[in-house]
């Protein structure tokens, strides 16, 4: 089926098109871009007054299937992702059973294809069963379709095992993603250590639990001459360590989540368990540093860490509620409001953070830009639209979000994945 987008103001990582363009899509690819395309298409979309961006790519999400289908399924997660403008998402390995063998990888990909709304790329585990004891069969995981490996939810605490994982994954040409947290230091902490944890009497997780693992990994990557991607960076100090590592030519990349550049640990004062997240919400100083790091290239991309949890689980008391919040449907609205509108970055930089760089980090050569011959993964956005994030509008199966009731800016109008309309407002 062919599709023609008319009057598109195309925002790429380089620039915003000066003239309105038409984009002709055929067989899942961008066939032609021009000022006035005459060819007939089966369907035409008028993008007048909107901006057209490459589909967003999320390196970090949790789809909960298999294991916790009461929280999310590949189908409901795909719906939420498409609604948020995502065309490719990676889902983390901490399912039950764990994504640590090719059978699970293949079954997730198969189900995602059946749903057919978003490219789902499973992230395999670094260690079998996430047990931090033995490495997974990385070459096999790669051939089954994984582009990255992570024990997300925990660090590979054993430094020698991490060294071996870096070397072996480098040979297998598969990216390692580290969740930086020294369990001994975080020690069951529920929120950022600081004035607010003291005031609220909630068990604190000191920021240094993130930075000691980050610093260790930078040293290991430097020593083994490999590379690594850091998940959900939340601290000013972490951005300093990453910046220095990059300056020294060490091959590291990093992501940050919308909640870490929009909320501080003041939000926990409500005792709303949807503010309980790992890494925890930090101080204003950290939030400002994350914004700065997104703008200056220290942090390479925005990921959601979409982490659905059921009402029952989140209705527990703060200590017993699980960590995490959903993120697909608020990522763009928060990024435009807090980064673009606040003049931290311009729109092309947002495309770099949400499409171009994540594609580059996992080696998707045909995604992350709108050019002839590339995959027709496209999102049409009304970047001027103020809208309220309402609970009843959430597509995800879970509703655990501290942003419910908040005004956001920039709304997805249409999402196109592989030439097919996957979401239409």
């Amino acid at each position: 089926m062919s599709l023609l987008i008319k009057n598109a103001i195309i925002v790429s990582f380089k620039n915003i098109s000066k003239e309105k363009q038409d984009i002709l899509i055929e067989k899942g690819l961008i066939k032609k871009i021009g000022t006035s395309i005459k060819e007939k298409a089966a369907k035409t979309i008028d993008a007048k007054g909107k901006i057209v961006m490459p589909g967003f790519i999320d390196l970090h999400s949790h789809l909960r299937e298999p294991g916790r289908e009461d929280k999310e399924t590949i189908e409901t997660g795909s719906l939420a992702a498409a609604k948020g403008g995502f065309t490719t998402i990676m889902c983390m390995a901490n399912t039950n059973p764990v994504i640590d063998n090719c059978m699970i990888v293949e079954s997730i990909i198969k189900e995602a294809k059946r749903v057919g709304l978003v490219n789902v790329i499973p992230v395999g585990a670094i260690t079998r069963g996430l047990n931090s004891e033995e490495l997974t069969d990385m070459v096999e995981l790669k051939s089954a379709g994984c582009l990255a490996l992570s024990d997300d939810g925990r660090s590979v605490l054993n430094s020698n095992l991490m060294r071996l994982a870096l070397q072996y994954s480098s040979m297998a040409e598969i990216l390692l993603i580290e969740h930086c947290e020294d369990d001994f230091l975080s020690s069951g902490g529920m929120m950022n250590e600081g004035y607010n944890s003291t005031l609220l009497g909630i068990k604190p997780d000191p920021g240094v639990s993130e930075t000691v693992i980050l610093a260790r990994d930078i040293e290991l990557v430097n020593y083994t001459k490999t590379k690594i991607h850091f998940a959900h960076i939340s601290l000013k100090r972490s951005t300093e360590l990453i910046k220095n590592a990059k300056k020294s030519g060490i091959n590291v990349t990093a992501e940050a989540c919308p909640h870490h550049f929009t909320l501080t640990d003041d939000a926990v004062k409500s005792f709303d368990t949807s503010t309980k997240v790992k890494p925890p919400l930090r101080s204003k100083e950290d939030v400002d540093a994350i914004k700065q790091a997104l703008s200056d290239g220290t942090i390479d991309c925005i990921s959601t860490d979409h982490a659905p949890h059921s009402k029952e689980d989140k209705e527990a008391d703060f200590d017993n509620a699980p960590f995490g919040m959903i993120g697909f449907e608020t990522a763009l609205g928060l990024a435009i409001k807090e980064l673009v509108d606040a003049k931290v970055i311009a729109l092309p930089k947002l495309v770099e953070l949400m499409s171009k760089n994540p594609a580059g980090i996992i080696g998707l050569k045909n995604k992350g830009d709108i050019k002839e011959g590339m995959d027709a993964d496209i999102v049409i956005v009304d970047d001027k639209k103020d809208w309220e994030f309402k609970k009843e509008d959430i597509a995800s199966k879970s509703k655990n979000s501290p942003f419910i009731g908040m005004m956001l800016k920039g709304e997805v109008q249409t999402t196109i994945c592989a030439g097919k309309i996957t979401y239409q407002k």
Binding site: Y195, T198, G201, I202, P206, F271, E315, D319
Partner: protein, 315 residues
């Protein structure tokens, strides 16, 4: 005197200085009730008060129960082991069930901070916080302030030292808040590993020198050192704690003449204080227990009592 309008008692942050003073003033008249032969007034006749305790407690629970009974309220105790929470109900489920039986107040103690606040936002009955995690224990702080005022005649301008495991103490947090509001100057003292981050921003000084605290204080509040803190590695040993921070008679040589030694109980004799000190001239530990009933009567009365017949019922 200001009028009481609050529906819940969640913490002292939410109370004004005037409201705190109103509670302390009201407690004075209820203290007298407990000294009568017939220790009962009809103020809360027909009201139902549920004590929902998710943590062990002897004195707080008993104190609340006596307070409610002396006001003629009906009381029910629910302890964690006998509740259905272990069967997968959330706290809100349990509390909604209790609410559905038309109770007037729920006195809740829970190991997690914030539970009373969440209950108050979701339920109709008055919620009284009997201790939530490390966060808040407002009735303890109120009875402590009542005792100080009773013994020393004032709170404003007093030097108060709080000694012990500050990091895990809801008693410390509530007292810091209340004492600051009433104009006392608070210093917290304990091992560096048990002083929480940025506590100075709560308006206190930090010390690691008990002898300095003894010399300067009008009131010293000792906190219970839990044996688990040694297992959690916060302390090298209980023995070392007792040696460095424990208060004994010898150390009190430099104390002010009117010093009050307080403790929320239960005490670890030989750890945070010696038996001699616990039973000695400065100790007001049992007065605190007595006053606890009066203060809790005042709180129940202010929250649940019918205001129009207030004066005759109390007198």
């Amino acid at each position: 005197m200001s009028e009481w309008i609050k529906h819940d008692l969640l913490d002292l942050q939410n109370l004004s200085k005037e409201e705190i003073e109103l509670i302390l003033e009201t407690a004075k008249s209820f203290k007298e009730v407990s000294s009568r032969d017939v220790k009962k007034v009809p103020a809360l006749r027909g009201k139902t008060v549920v004590m929902l305790f998710f943590e062990n407690s002897t004195r707080t629970r008993m104190s609340f129960e006596l307070a409610a009974k002396r006001l003629s309220a009906d009381t029910i105790n629910i302890a964690i082991s006998s509740s259905s929470l272990s069967k997968g109900e959330t706290i809100l489920d349990t509390a909604r069930n209790i609410e559905a039986m038309n109770v007037d107040a729920i006195i809740v103690r829970h190991p997690t901070a914030g539970v009373p606040k969440i209950l108050s936002e979701n339920l109709g009955p008055s919620i009284i916080n009997a201790g939530d995690g490390c966060r808040s224990h407002p009735t303890q702080a109120l009875l402590d302030m009542f005792t100080i005022k009773e013994k020393l005649g004032k709170i404003e301008g007093l030097e108060v030292g709080i000694v012990g495991d500050i990091a895990h103490s809801r008693v410390a947090r509530s007292n810091i808040c209340g004492l600051n509001k009433l104009g006392a100057k608070v210093t917290v003292c304990g091992p560096a590993t048990l002083i929480p981050s940025d506590i100075e921003k709560l308006g206190v000084k930090v010390s690691h020198d008990v002898d300095e605290i003894i010399k300067n204080s009008d009131v010293i509040m000792l906190l219970r050192i839990q044996k688990e803190r040694q297992e959690d590695k916060f302390l090298p040993s209980i023995r070392e704690y007792a040696k460095v921070f424990g208060i004994n008679k010898n150390r009190l040589k430099n104390a002010k003449k009117d010093l009050l030694i307080m403790h929320p109980g239960p005490t670890n004799r030989g750890v945070e204080l010696s038996a001699e000190v616990a039973d000695g001239e400065y100790s007001v530990i049992l007065d605190q227990v007595t006053n606890g009933v009066a203060v809790r009567m005042a709180i129940l009365y202010l929250l649940l009592g019918t205001k129009e017949i207030k004066t005759e019922e109390v007198s």
